[in-house]
């Protein structure tokens, strides 16, 4: 085995020569991430378990006679989805809460907070700040991660665990593994992450996409064995779906936006069902535009709606300007670095190329309908790309003229300010969601409609407990929050 350091006459390994400032840079980045994440975790934890999307799977999980029967039946719940772990997770977490004498809110929201923390820890690991320049780039990229509208989508929704956050964690974990030297366990870990992600939601395919993109970009941690193992698993998953008679959802299965209007599933089927190709192309372009330009949201172009209404809210302007500036930066990096031969790419360029293609592929998943959640993995990798591009631009500053350096600094500082403003608005939107979610429970088990209460005692007991826990969860009313928040943070 050759050891370059020894060949050069050095009597120590490169790791031993590591600049102590590198660890300080990582430590400082971790401190920043931790301080920003703590109140974010608090804001997330305050949201009660939702009625929509959460109550139904929890009831199903509670009423199942056994875990095995739940697993068997999960294949029959929907003709277009196969998400067995969705119900299994709910069942296990309910059991955990019962055995540990914890509230359901504590357990389910605790898991959501753990996912948030894991995602942020993996992001720090993915960008690996090692020098002070990295810390500066991190100071721009971290608010991009949090301020991105797709990040909020991973916090607002729960089914009752947010599967998109789970998929993002799995994809980012693969990306982190890909950055390091290959280890024997990488194919096993990547395969387990893929299985886990695919068993909760179809977007779990992004884990496989991440493996392929990292391998194609020549990232060191992903070898052929990992690609083969995950590809075989994914093909097996497709065969299993086929065997179970589960089909891919087509146009009209969900509501989606077009132009300045959001259409219900029936309306989408009526308008585009006969000739869906154009609508699907529109969606894919829209998904990519949403990642790169913050528009459209769920297929609806707020800018178009604002133009029609004759009034544009500041939130739209802020989101578009910040995303546009960051995207131009990514384009600059791609033009300057990716055009060289792949074999000559440094690690950062390989990571950038992989992350950028992951974004593009993620946008393609919006073909049938656009939701912010679907492109949430792409949003995470957008922040990774931003880190790499900002870092590369900062490195060039000493070589530039004073005027150019000043202009670039001003541009980066302004863009960082816009993204930080977006990131701080996440608290506002989470508070708003907590308020709304808690109020939704008032409409459940209404005293004057006892005839509509569930007949099944287990369902009634679970619903009663969830409702009581939600009502006990104090939240801030938007009436006591700054009124301008709606115009600047809520689209």
């Amino acid at each position: 085995m050759s050891v370059p350091a020894f060949e050069n006459g050095m009597l120590c390994l490169p790791r031993m020569l590591e600049d102590p400032r590198r660890s300080r840079a990582m430590l400082l980045s971790l401190v920043v991430a931790t301080l920003i994440t703590i109140p974010l975790a608090d804001s997330l934890y305050r949201i009660p378990i939702q009625v929509s999307d959460s109550l139904e799977p929890m009831v199903v999980a509670r009423k199942a006679d056994s875990t095995i029967s739940l697993l068997e039946n999960s294949a029959t719940f929907s003709p277009t989805t196969f998400r067995p772990a969705r119900y299994l997770q709910a069942r296990w977490l309910l059991q955990l809460a019962d055995r540990a004498s914890l509230s359901y809110n504590t357990v389910f929201r605790g898991v959501h907070v753990a996912l948030l923390v894991l995602l942020i820890a993996l992001f720090v690991a993915a960008v690996r700040p090692r020098e002070w320049t990295d810390v500066v780039a991190f100071g721009v990229a971290f608010p991009v991660l949090i301020g991105m509208h797709t990040f909020l989508a991973m916090l607002l929704e729960a089914f009752p665990v947010n599967h998109y956050a789970e998929v993002s964690v799995c994809a980012l974990a693969v990306f982190v593994l890909a950055q390091h030297q290959p280890k024997w366990y990488v194919p096993i870990v990547a395969s387990l992450l893929l299985i886990g992600a695919l068993s909760v939601i179809e977007s779990g395919v992004m884990v496989w996409v991440t493996v392929l993109c990292c391998a194609a970009a020549g990232m060191p941690g992903i070898r052929r064995s990992t690609v083969i193992a995950t590809t075989v698993l994914f093909l097996g998953y497709l065969v299993l779906r086929h065997q179970l008679g589960i089909v891919t959802p087509g146009v009209g299965g969900h509501g989606s936006g077009f132009g300045a209007t959001f259409y219900s599933a029936d309306e989408v089927a009526q308008r585009f069902g006969a000739h869906p190709a154009g609508f699907m192309i529109y969606n894919v372009i829209g998904g990519l535009a949403s990642l790169l330009l913050a528009e459209p949201r769920n297929g609806v172009y707020s800018l178009l709606a604002a133009w029609r209404a004759g009034e544009i809210h500041p939130v739209v302007t802020i989101n578009i300007l910040s995303s546009l500036a960051s995207t131009l930066l990514l384009i600059w990096y791609a033009v300057m670095h990716v055009r060289t031969k792949r074999a000559d790419w440094p690690d950062a360029t390989r990571a950038f190329a992989a992350a950028a293609v992951i974004m593009l592929v993620n946008a393609a998943l919006t073909a049938a309908y656009i939701k912010d959640e679907i492109i949430s993995v792409g949003g995470v990798f957008y922040a990774v790309c931003t880190f790499i591009a900002v870092r590369a631009l900062i490195v060039t500053l000493p070589r530039r003229t004073t005027a150019a350096a000043f202009a670039i600094t001003l541009l980066l500082a302004t863009n960082a300010a816009l993204w930080t403003f977006r990131a701080s608005g996440v608290h506002y939107q989470l508070r708003y969601d907590a308020f709304k979610t808690r109020n939704d429970w008032v409409e459940v088990l209404r005293e004057n409609e006892r005839s509509e209460w569930p007949n099944d005692s287990r369902e009634l007991q679970l619903t009663r407990r969830l409702r009581a826990e939600a009502l006990e969860r104090h939240t801030a009313s938007p009436s006591f929050m700054p009124r301008w928040g709606d115009r600047y943070w809520v689209e």
Binding site: L35, I394, A413, S479
Partner: protein, 153 residues
């Protein structure tokens, strides 16, 4: 321009957010934090569309028929008022709040129905009007009727 100045300028927004987050964390530990849950009366909960808090207060023993303090800016501008929860619901144009109160012990007699109808005359809401009409409200002349949401001093 020095590299340090450039770097500080670029990271300044993130430093501000970090400092604010640290402050929110400390104040959270001290019982406050960013936008902590409100301490409200039943009438204020209704006035702020906080049906869940209103229901929680009723379940904890708050009287849904007792007038409660509502601070300036929630139902009125420039002065506080003391109103019954149902009056707050009508003034806030919240049919869902009114329905919830009526389902959880709030009562409306003829005199109160007249007051509610007159508040609704001022602050129109079709959902509220529907509920009031279901309780027997008819269009009445509200001239000279003193409403609890009016300025008293």
């Amino acid at each position: 321009m020095g590299r340090v100045v450039q770097s500080l300028a670029i990271v300044a927004p993130c430093v501000v957010l970090t400092a604010l987050s640290a402050w929110w964390t400390v104040s959270l530990a001290l019982g406050g934090g960013l936008w902590p849950p409100d301490q409200v009366t039943l009438s204020e909960a209704v006035a702020t569309r906080n049906n869940a808090e209103a229901l929680r207060l009723i379940q904890q023993g708050a009287d849904p028929n007792r007038p409660g303090f509502v601070r300036d800016g929630l139902l009125t501008n420039g002065y506080d008022v003391t109103v019954r929860p149902v009056e707050a619901a009508v003034a806030a144009q919240r049919a869902d709040s009114l329905r919830m109160l009526l389902a959880n012990g709030a009562s409306v007699d003829d005199e109160e129905l007249r007051v509610l109808s007159c508040i609704e005359e001022q602050r129109h809401d079709s959902g509220v009007r529907e509920i009031l009409e279901a309780h027997g409200a008819a269009h009445i002349a509200c001239d000279g009727v003193r409403l609890p949401t009016d300025r008293t001093r």
